[in-house]
Symmetry: none
Subunit: 277 residues, 2 copies
């Protein structure tokens, strides 16, 4: 595998060659069809540098490196074909393949069954609420956190609830407060109870869960149902993750003008505080 080779030696490579190496590692399928000169053009270095990289990586010349890339791409093509053909019942698929395939089927399931109106409604509710609380516990905390993280870029009134603050927040809420519960099978009891309490106290409620008949749904005015078959004892969050992206983008869409300048502001402070590389 050429990427491994590149990864190992990237540090010792001169800057120009390192650029080329990065391009090849990130776009092997593209690079496999290009000549040395064309790669050089893409990266912005001379043809010579590309050829010298091939040699620096230990190949006798550029054509040999290209052949190695071609071999890899051909391999990928054959596995792709196998995947496409009759569900290979004979071969034992690896753990990785099983997980990814399972999630692809979860995503296509979501494509068919997720209710776009509910998504829209939830996005609107989030934007319009005076306060929005997001609660997800145990594994669902990852989803709740993710949702909160991006929403809080644009909406300062969105808060992530922790175990410690659940009841204080709920008792402070009004009908203009939106409580979003996130939980998937096997539903965390506390999340359901919190949602129930929120509803009882007259807060607006929403649920992000696996079905419209989940225990959360009983106490939620808006239900975003994302079916998801578990793999082994884990119930995958791949599909929910994807739907959350749609939700975030939908929210951003609803405060577009505000969001754009907000992104610029953020960009500015990220640079200033050197948050990202």
């Amino acid at each position: 595998m050429i990427q491994r080779l590149i990864q190992e030696r990237l540090g010792d490579l001169p800057p120009g060659q390192a650029e080329v190496a990065r391009f090849i590692a990130q776009n092997p399928q593209e690079a496999a069809f290009l000549t040395a000169a064309q790669i050089g053009l893409r990266v912005g270095v001379s043809e010579s540098t590309v050829i010298r990289l091939a040699m620096a990586l230990g190949y006798p010349g550029f054509p040999e490196m290209k052949a190695a890339l071609a071999g890899q791409v051909k391999d990928q093509l054959s596995t792709l074909e196998r995947l496409h053909r009759y569900d290979e019942s004979s071969v034992e698929p690896s753990l990785l393949r099983r997980a990814l395939r399972e999630d692809m089927s979860n995503l296509s399931g979501a494509l068919l069954s997720v209710d776009e109106e509910a998504l829209e409604a939830l996005a609107s509710a989030i934007v319009q609420a005076k306060e929005t609380y997001i609660l997800g516990l145990r594994s669902a905390h990852s989803l709740a956190y993710y949702l909160w993280f991006y929403l809080s870029w644009f909406l300062p009134h969105v808060q992530l609830l922790e175990r410690e603050t659940i009841w204080e927040r709920i008792t402070q809420g009004t009908s203009e407060t939106l409580f979003v519960g996130v939980s998937f099978p096997r539903y965390t009891r506390l999340t359901v109870e919190a949602l129930e309490a929120a509803r009882a106290k007259g807060l607006s409620t929403a649920a992000i869960t696996d079905s419209s008949v989940s225990p959360l749904a009983a106490y939620a005015q808006i239900v975003l149902a994302i079916p998801s078959k578990p793999i082994s004892f884990i119930d995958s969050f791949s599909a929910p993750m994807s739907v959350l992206n749609a939700l975030i983008l939908c929210v951003v869409e609803k405060c577009k003008d505000h969001a754009e300048e907000r992104l610029e502001e953020l960009e500015h402070i990220w640079r200033e505080r050197k948050i990202y590389l």
Copy 2:
């Protein structure tokens, strides 16, 4: 599509060229990487005949036909055919559909390019380490948390690092300590710096990131690269999520006997403490 072109004209083609045409139509993925002479050799025909076929099919020359083949092959690789086909039918895809499709393509990309050896190696390293620290900040915190949450069911030595405890833990580590950094573009600076420091202090290091040439990879002994195209300003974690599932299952596989009784224990305490509904 070149196969169609060949099919149409196969009847009018002289026998030698027809042979070549059949070969190309049946093995486009092979042919896309071969020179005219090599194709001639395979089919048992001279180089000239191959070139003449290209012209007979209406291309200005052989390179152009090869480029057409290459383009086709690249298309197959970039996304699953199915996704493409559905895409064409629906006119204006909604946000949700776009997000889900993008992620399906990310998953199929992962299916082709994720290095199973790296996955195995990382799982082994996690199980064997004396201490395992997982660090993911900002959006990647959701992934780090998720990974930690499940691993800690079986492996008490797995810890989730918070901003506050990074440096203390790193300075306490030995070569038997595994430091797992999780970061995706745009890479959080602190995560990269922590991984760098961990490596410098002699800890074992691993990275879960988007490519083998990501900034994290430079300081990681094991790199789990999960390519992922971003949607809008968000880079989706749907594919990484799925690969994490595979990683978790792989770890569980490696301590199978222990894991089973552990699950029973957990089941017991969950019931006792009424964690789930």
